[in-house]
Symmetry: C2
Amino acid sequence: MGTFPWKHRIGMASSMKKRQDTTIIDIARLAGVSKSTVSRVLTDAPNISKDARERVLEVVRQTGFRPNHLARSLRSGNTGIVGLVIPDIANPFWADVARGAQDAASDKGTSILIFSSDWDPDREARHFRALLQARVDGAIINPVRDSLEDIADFGIPLVLIGSSAGRFADLPSVGSNIEQGVAIGLDHANTLGLGLPALIVGDAERSARLRFVAAVKAEISLRGSATDNLIVEDGHYTVEGGRAAMERILASSSKPTFIFAANDLMALGAMQAVREAGLRCPEDISILGFDGIPAGEVSAPGLTTVAKPSRQLGAHAFNLLTEKRQTAEHLTLPCTLIERGSVRTAPPLSCAI
Amino acid sequence: MGTFPWKHRIGMASSMKKRQDTTIIDIARLAGVSKSTVSRVLTDAPNISKDARERVLEVVRQTGFRPNHLARSLRSGNTGIVGLVIPDIANPFWADVARGAQDAASDKGTSILIFSSDWDPDREARHFRALLQARVDGAIINPVRDSLEDIADFGIPLVLIGSSAGRFADLPSVGSNIEQGVAIGLDHANTLGLGLPALIVGDAERSARLRFVAAVKAEISLRGSATDNLIVEDGHYTVEGGRAAMERILASSSKPTFIFAANDLMALGAMQAVREAGLRCPEDISILGFDGIPAGEVSAPGLTTVAKPSRQLGAHAFNLLTEKRQTAEHLTLPCTLIERGSVRTAPPLSCAI
DNA sequence: CGCGACAATGGGAACGTTCCCATGGAAACA
DNA sequence: TGTTTCCATGGGAACGTTCCCATTGTCGCG
């Protein structure tokens, strides 16, 4: 017993047959019990004599045996793996969501298969297929499209995550409270006497855009202002997109002094455009972001933003996936305001003079 | 045929027995061939009649059948999954590495299991166990410790990634060329007449720190200066750590005008400290980073930095894992200089006056 | 003392696939 | 026409586990 002579394998030709060196049967033989008993010990099943359990555990420890998860999964139907399909793991917001899910999963001994869809339906579809074939126990998905007919009958537990998640009543979801976030953002701006914002928003076909714009309009209406002339500039969900959108706004006849971006990256891009145009933020133009990514902390001025609870989003999504209720639950987590320096805190010039 | 009536499963009790509805045997029956033939078709094996292949594919398409990856993996020994163990997926540098690996993997139909070790040996060990049990085809690892005895005989192909990766001669590795990166960084500084840098570096126990400091000293020596009085301030690999380190430097008697940080986050933290101390960057203090994370783009001033090829790092690591050579290969990818605004380009004041 | 209940265990089937070997037939060659 | 070769196919074993059922022994209780 002890070490086994045949456990070396340095390097792998991809077609090399991998045979597991030690199996549950070897353990059984060494411990003088049946494979059933070993299995019971390893799965913490009831009705095992203390003696047998200890003998088995001792052999397991000495041999360094690890049960083959594949065989276990094949037989039991549970893989201990869940899928996570997000737009882009390199996007700090989604990376944070992933981290939250990872931590929650790690606590329960579950591993996470992460995919980046790049907002591309084809890539997304490929990833879905990969998930299904890997027989994951469930998946957390930020759907690219708003039509989910094809994934509704996935046959595996699903949790939707993100702004558009709540739109599918029969699927559990986790999202941040956009309306509340917009409210506290505009509330803050209002307190500072900032007036109506110009909006920089993302890709038109995503429902997140609609929801953000609608929330802003609702909030403005609530305060008694008209929303007809609201400036809304579309762009890509990136720094570059935000910069381009801001440049277009600056080139237009409208001269807004308050920008509300639907996403921090765009807000930061807008901030760059403002600076490059020779204007100052926040003195000339206030910028409010939406996300709460770490990069906003290091910009100058620091980005004042409405932070989504990204990490908690991921953690709750995972928990929702496992602690399955009877009915689809819809979690909406509140946003928080992070005040840094990109919003003008002094009263507007027109008042100060 | 067409849709199957029994494919519904809404919600999952975790102990519910999951039996696959359609198997290769059903396909065989429907297509009027044997399961062997179906298997051959699905694995693109040779020696299949055109007729049989088409019949099988037709049935597969109509039923929407997907082979069970678990069973396939169990029998063949290949899971089509590789592991990736990095310090933190929420760290933009590592997120980018992960993305590079993901893209490379996606091209070959491989999925990636991502773990965050948080530089914690215990967490790392847990993740290693998870990888082994999941029977991944291989793993890309940024090792927390420099002692790898325990993972050397993992029995699965391994590729090390990161600064300390090359230290293990018998394991293939991918890393960025720190020495060359330091060289182009200091070269740039030298061209601008910046003089000797003060260093802000990370955790002392990581070999990355040693390597960075050594490279800087070597480069300075090469230029004929002494390295004895080089200021080296330790800190955590975070914005906060960089800020704290910079505050300590500012509080000390030395008054450096050029900071070279071993990592962008620390550089950005240092920039904040400089600003908060009422000094200007780059006029009073130049700051040079090392990483090339996107956040450096949106700071003010933009962070001039030596960029590591993060995404390529991940991609090459994956490729190294699959296109296995006989001997362990050590890839070293070059860094590039990104000039933004955090390094003073005008000659020093003492000269200008 | 007999009998049911239950704890502890073993053996075989099952999970869904790939791999190996055997077989039949057609094509190629003498 | 007989023999060899090779293509196409089928059937069973194997992968390493968990699940199910049967068996044994022990205890408690009437």
